[in-house]
Symmetry: C2
Subunit: 351 residues, 2 copies
Amino acid sequence: MVHRKRVTLRDLAEHLNINTSTVSRALSEKSSEMISPDVVKRVRKAAREMGYKQNAAAYALKVGSTKTIGMIIPDLMNPVFPPIIRGIQSVLDQYGYTAFLAYSQNNEGTAHTEVERLISRGVDGIIYAAAFRKDSVVELCKSQGVPLVLVNRVVDQGDVDTVKVDDSLGIKMAVDHLLELGHRKIGFIAGPKDISVSYIRLRAFTRTMAEHDLEVEPHRIVEAHALSEAAGTQAMSVFLGQNPDATAVIASNDLIALGCFTALKQFGYSCPKRLSIVGFNNMPYLDWFATPLTTVSIPHFQMGERAAELLLKRIKSENLDYNEEVLLKPKLVIRDSTAPVIRPKQKSDAT
Amino acid sequence: MVHRKRVTLRDLAEHLNINTSTVSRALSEKSSEMISPDVVKRVRKAAREMGYKQNAAAYALKVGSTKTIGMIIPDLMNPVFPPIIRGIQSVLDQYGYTAFLAYSQNNEGTAHTEVERLISRGVDGIIYAAAFRKDSVVELCKSQGVPLVLVNRVVDQGDVDTVKVDDSLGIKMAVDHLLELGHRKIGFIAGPKDISVSYIRLRAFTRTMAEHDLEVEPHRIVEAHALSEAAGTQAMSVFLGQNPDATAVIASNDLIALGCFTALKQFGYSCPKRLSIVGFNNMPYLDWFATPLTTVSIPHFQMGERAAELLLKRIKSENLDYNEEVLLKPKLVIRDSTAPVIRPKQKSDAT
DNA sequence: TTGAAAGCGCTAACAT
DNA sequence: ATGTTAGCGCTTTCAA
């Protein structure tokens, strides 16, 4: 009993001996009011029985809205993104919207291509979580008149809606925590500085240190070539080579922090005994780790929700003059990868 | 410079003083052959310059194919699914297909609703990873003539394309491993038995044990109410209460295995000293855990790839008579949660 | 090689 | 309250 053909409005209309427009109106929540209750009932019954499903393509072509949005993230494998996606979808669902998922692979060109595909698909808007500090996607969306919301990462230009976490505050919390534990020789394993979060976090690090009259010498900072575990290992090896005296490092994100552990092990050092490590993001399952990572927790799910809300708002009324920036607060989660500094016995402070 | 209106074929046609059909043909890879090279070049140039993007809705309405498929998984937060999704998308991308992502929440009703939404969206096919042993989604797709491929989980009916891992073999590997380590009093923390994988894995357990002339008494098996950490903890507590003598358990998946650890800790027992634990799935980051979990590894990414290939094949030629079942091989990954059984000193074997 | 025209399924003026 | 009709943007048959 395989229907090869989908049931259309006309099928229903012919079946009921009424006009397609009547059927259309009877089925629509809004305009069913202008149809006699009896007809509405009969139409809906027939629709159910015959298995009618609205043809989204026809609707989109007619009305101009696909009730569809696009999400672009760097990589699904990064555990940060699943909860963000869920957050987005949880509000989308409430409004009958559906989302396409695309990946930038942390590559601006790829992102650009994906946006073009999404636009061709007719998405009503785009949520983008992969902006470089300068990013052509913003231009593209603007020129095509497609509403855009940035989530988690931002661009240098100011005129775009954004939902992000207060990275600077997060880093400040991490630094303060380490300082309280007595650390002074603190390093920073940064992410690529063309990625906005990397840049912001690094700047927050030096600034916070400066506020405590602690100057950060250049060799205390090493830049990983990606926000990944492997890149973290590599960068941390370099760091340890040039910082035998460091007692703590802050990593630009958890994945890099994991890489730091690996490098530490290769050097035969232990954490937190020899060196404390702080991450960023609070990825899932950290509590289970051999050395549970102290990290800055950010409200992923909520970020997704807010981004979706913002986008939907923008889609409804596109001629809002001002852009919004939603700033969410991070939290420090203290686990076992940070400990009080162990001072070498009675070593003079003055060199 | 905000275009509120998208550039259409007609815009191009008018701009170039030719017919829309010529433009359409010039733009299409297939039919551009019948157009003079010169015109093709001019059309494509204009398209690029004016920012023309095909209207997917119009195309879909005309041609009947949206070049779109739907994926339905239980939950994005379960770390098993991201790699499967990536696998699917990696082959979809090559054929210009895009995927919608929907969730069943392990609830058949939800899955059913989502499938209806996807069908309304006009998807050319569906990949479904959430089948209960009996599942109305299969019927629904069949009745609507929508190609369907099941991934990872299966239904009792046989007439549907499926990509799955050889769960029975995986469990057999786990059992054999424990037997080699000297374990005999082995328990099984099953998942809900209306979920296909749970059922299959449990059956494989008792069968493998039987092959070794080991009878599994009923109290050795406890069923968790979900394939989740919390459910695992609960089930394992029950198990430990009624099996003080057990030396090993196999969990229906890794999440349940994690729950087992928690329960074990609550009882003041240690793993693997007092009790060995084996999981299933090899979720990410297990190597980092305090007690790295021995588990059955399955090729998630590859499963996704194969599922997508199968679906695309089915979409191309829907009247294939026979269904395919792709069976992938699992691998046992031995880590630290399993160890040789410690026999109580010189206790007589005979009771 | 190109043009003309129909029509995919739907909604929304505009009639009645 | 319901019917008529046009048209969204595209592909494709048929004609030239």
